[in-house]
Symmetry: C2
Subunit: 409 residues, 2 copies
C-alpha cells in the first residue's frame, strides 16, 4: 500500500458559549492540523490539536516534513518507524524551531498518527488490535528512544512488554467491559453555578463516576465555591478532579491545595507552568493529600523523563496529539510504567485515538485501567465517533485509529 | 514616536562550504525573521534566528502577534513592557503552540527586540546606554517575571540592580577597554584538520585568547584528534571550549568528558538534549574538571530556572534571539546572577545585539566580563557590524541595538 499523495487540512470547529473554556483559554476554537496519506484504496488520517489561530503554522510544517513519505509503502515505513521518526524530528533546518517541541513537534504528531492509522487500515484491524498483535521487537522498532539511555533502553522497552505477556489474557476482559471514562465537561470555566450544578447531576445520570472542574479564577473564592458545589451536587462517592490550566504561580497553587485539603480531590491538574519540573515536585511533596497531574503541554519524552525522575507526577497526562504521536505516546507510557505512575491521557482528539491507546496500555503494558477523559463536543464531526455508554468507552471495532473526519470524506 | 506600520521580512543568508556546520546541522542557512517597526523618523529592527527552512513560520507568527502594536507610542509601550510581553506570550489561541517555546516564542523574541531597538533610537542612544540609564524600577517594569515567584520576585529583581549601583563606576571602564570575544569559527564541524590548524594560528594572530571546537563526531576518535590538534596549534594558555550541539546521549557525553580530562577544557557545550535538566546535572556532578555550558536551545526563563535550581550549568548561554528577546535575556541574567552562574551568550545575532547586553550584565548586574562569542560570517549584511579588534569587542556608539540589515535599508 503505497502513499500516493499527502493532503494537509486546516480544520477548525468554533462552538458555543463557554464550551471548552478554562482559566487561560476563554474562547477556544478546537482545531486539527490534519494529515491525510492517500492511496487508491484507503487514507490514513492523523491529527494534531490546537486552539485555532496558528493551526495553519502546524499545517505548513506538516507539508514540509511529510514530503519524503510520498511513494513509500506503509508496511516498509512502519517496519523501522522509530528511525524514520528520529530523522524527521532531527530535520537539520527545522530542528532549530524546537527541538522536539512547539509547532514542528505538533506537525510530527499529525504525520505519525496518520502513518499508524494507515497501517491499521492496511491490516484491516482497529489500532488497538494492531498494537496488541505486534511482537515486542516489532513494537519497539516503531519507537524513537534517543536521549533515554539513562531511563529506558531498547532492551528494557522490550522487557516491559514481554514481562506482561503471561498476564495479558485476564486484562483482555476490558475489551468486553469497556474502558471507564471521566467527564470533563461539567465545569468549564465559563459556566455559571447553576449550569455547573445541573451538569453534575446530568453527568451522574449518564453513568459517570468521575468528574473534572476548571479552576484558576482571579478570586480563589470562586474556585472554592465551585469545588463546594460539585461535592454538594455529585456527592462524595465520585472521583473529583480540578484543572487550573497553568494559571497559578507555585505559592498560589500551594495555597489552593491547602485550602481544599478536606475535599478529597483526586488530582490537581496543571497547577502551574508546564515546563517547571521542580515546582511540580514541590507541589507533589507538599500536597500529599492531592496528587499532581500534568502532561497536556509536556512536549516530549525527554521532559516526561525529567518529570518522572523528579517524582513530580501523580498522574501522567501525555497526549498523542502533543508529543510525536502514537509512537512517543507509547514511549512515555513505558517510562511511566517503569516509574510506577498511572497514565490518564489528555484528549486533544476527544478520545478518538486515545481509546485505542489506553486499551494497549492496560493490556500490553499492564497499566491500570484507570479512566479516560471524555469530551463530547466534536462527536458529530467524526466518521466513527467514540461510543461512551453509562460512562464507559465501548471498544471500537472499525479498522484504523477512529480519526477520520466527516468533512474530509 | 508612534508605530505606524509593521513589516516582517524573511531574510536568509546561505554561505560557503562547512561554515557554521556542527554535529547536528551540516548545511545551515543562517536566517532572520525580522520585525521592522516603522514610523516616519526611524525604524526599530528586531531579529529572531533560525537555520533556514521554517523561518517563514516565525515570520507568520510575528505578523499575528505584532498587530496590536500598530498605532501605539514606543515610550508608552516600554513604560510597562513586562505586562505587554506577558499578554503577547499568553495570547490565548497561540499559547497552545508553545507555551513559551518554539515558533511562537521566537516570534516574540523578534517583536521584543524591535521594541527595544526603537526605544533606544527614539532616545538617541545605544541600547547599552539606555539600559544603564533606566532606574531599577523602570528596568524591572520591562520584564515578565511570571512563574518565577519561587526564585526571583519583583523586589529581588530591583534589589539585584540596586545592590550593584555603588560599584558601577569601576566596572564602566569596560566601555573603554572593550569586552573580550572568543572565536567560534576555528573549528566548524565540516573543516578538515589542516584548516582547523591554520584557523587556530590565525585566531591567535588576531588576538583571541579563547577558542571553540565543534565535536560530536560519529567516531569519538575524530573528536579526540581534533581536541589534540587545537591544543598543539593554540597552546595551553588559551581558553579552549568544545561544543557537541546536543549530539550525545548521557553515557556518550560522560565518556567524552572522561577521555578529555587532561585537556583542560574550559567548558563542554550542549553535551546532550537541551530539555534534559537532570542529564546536565549528572554531567556537572561527574565531570567536575569540565564545566557544562548550555542555553542556546533553552526556550524560556522557567526552564533556565530549573537548570539553575538543579546546579546543572557551569555557564549560562542564554540567547536573546531564542528566549523572548532583550527582556527575557535580562530576566535570565538576573536568575544566573542570583545562582552565581556566569552568562556567556550564544550569538544567533552574530554578537550585534549581545555586545550591548553583556555590557549591561557586567556594569549593572555585576556579572564578570567573561567573553562574548564571535562569529564573523554575516558582517557584511549589517549596517553597523560589530568591531572586534585584537579579540575584543569595541563598544558600539550608534543609537539602537545594532541589528539593522543593509538589505532592508
Amino acid at each position: 500500500m503505497t502513499i500516493q499523495r499527502i493532503q494537509v487540512t486546516d480544520a477548525r470547529f468554533p462552538f458555543g458559549e463557554g464550551m471548552g473554556s478554562d482559566a487561560i483559554h476563554r474562547t477556544p476554537v478546537y482545531s486539527y492540523a490534519v494529515t491525510t496519506l492517500a492511496n487508491g484504496d484507503a487514507a490514513g488520517t492523523g491529527l494534531a490539536f490546537t486552539l485555532g489561530d496558528g493551526n495553519d503554522l502546524v499545517c505548513r510544517a506538516v507539508e514540509h516534513l511529510s514530503r519524503q513519505l510520498v511513494g513509500r509503502d506503509i508496511e516498509e515505513i512502519m517496519h523501522d518507524f522509530g528511525a524514520l521518526q528520529r530523522s524527521l524530528a532531527n530535520d537539520e533546518k527545522y530542528r532549530w524551531l524546537g527541538p522536539h517541541k512547539g509547532v514542528v513537534h505538533l506537525a510530527l504528531a499529525s504525520i505519525t498518527n496518520a502513518c499508524w492509522d494507515l497501517w491499521a487500515k492496511r491490516r484491516g484491524v482497529p489500532l488497538w488490535r494492531l498494537l496488541l498483535d505486534l511482537s515486542p521487537e516489532e513494537l519497539v522498532a516503531t519507537l524513537d528512544l534517543s536521549y533515554l539511555d539513562d531511563a529506558l533502553t531498547r532492551d528494557e522497552a522490550i522487557e516491559i512488554v514481554r514481562s506482561q505477556q503471561h498476564s495479558r489474557t485476564e486484562r483482555e476482559s476490558v475489551l468486553d467491559r469497556g474502558y471507564p471514562g471521566y467527564d470533563t465537561s461539567v465545569g468549564w470555566f465559563g459556566y455559571d453555578d447553576e449550569k455547573l450544578r445541573d451538569n453534575c447531576r446530568r453527568s451522574l445520570d449518564c453513568g459517570f463516576r468521575a468528574l473534572k472542574l476548571k479552576v484558576g479564577s482571579a478570586e480563589m473564592d470562586r474556585d472554592l465555591r465551585r469545588v463546594e458545589i460539585v461535592r454538594e451536587a455529585a456527592g462524595w462517592d465520585v472521583r473529583f478532579m480540578v484543572d487550573a490550566n497553568q494559571q497559578w504561580s507555585l505559592p498560589r497553587a500551594l495555597e489552593f491545595g491547602r485550602r481544599t485539603g478536606d475535599y478529597n480531590l483526586y488530582w490537581i491538574e496543571e497547577p502551574t507552568h508546564p515546563d517547571d519540573v521542580f515546582a511540580h515536585q514541590t507541589l507533589a511533596r507538599e500536597l500529599g493529600a492531592h496528587k499532581i497531574a500534568a502532561g497536556e503541554h509536556v512536549p516530549n519524552r525527554v521532559v516526561f523523563k525529567n518529570y518522572l525522575q523528579a517524582g513530580s507526577l501523580g498522574f501522567c497526562q501525555v497526549d498523542a496529539l502533543r508529543v510525536a504521536g502514537v509512537s512517543e505516546f507509547i514511549v512515555v507510557s513505558m517510562l511511566a510504567k517503569k516509574y510506577g505512575v498511572p497514565v490518564a491521557p489528555h484528549v486533544g482528539d476527544m478520545g478518538q485515538l486515545h481509546q485505542h491507546l489506553v486499551l494497549f496500555n492496560h493490556i500490553a503494558l499492564g497499566h491500570d485501567a484507570l479512566f479516560l477523559e471524555y469530551i463530547p463536543h466534536l462527536q458529530q464531526h467524526f466518521r466513527h465517533p467514540c461510543r461512551v455508554e453509562q460512562g464507559v468507552y465501548r471498544t471500537p471495532q472499525e479498522s484504523g485509529a477512529s480519526c477520520d473526519l466527516i468533512s474530509l470524506s
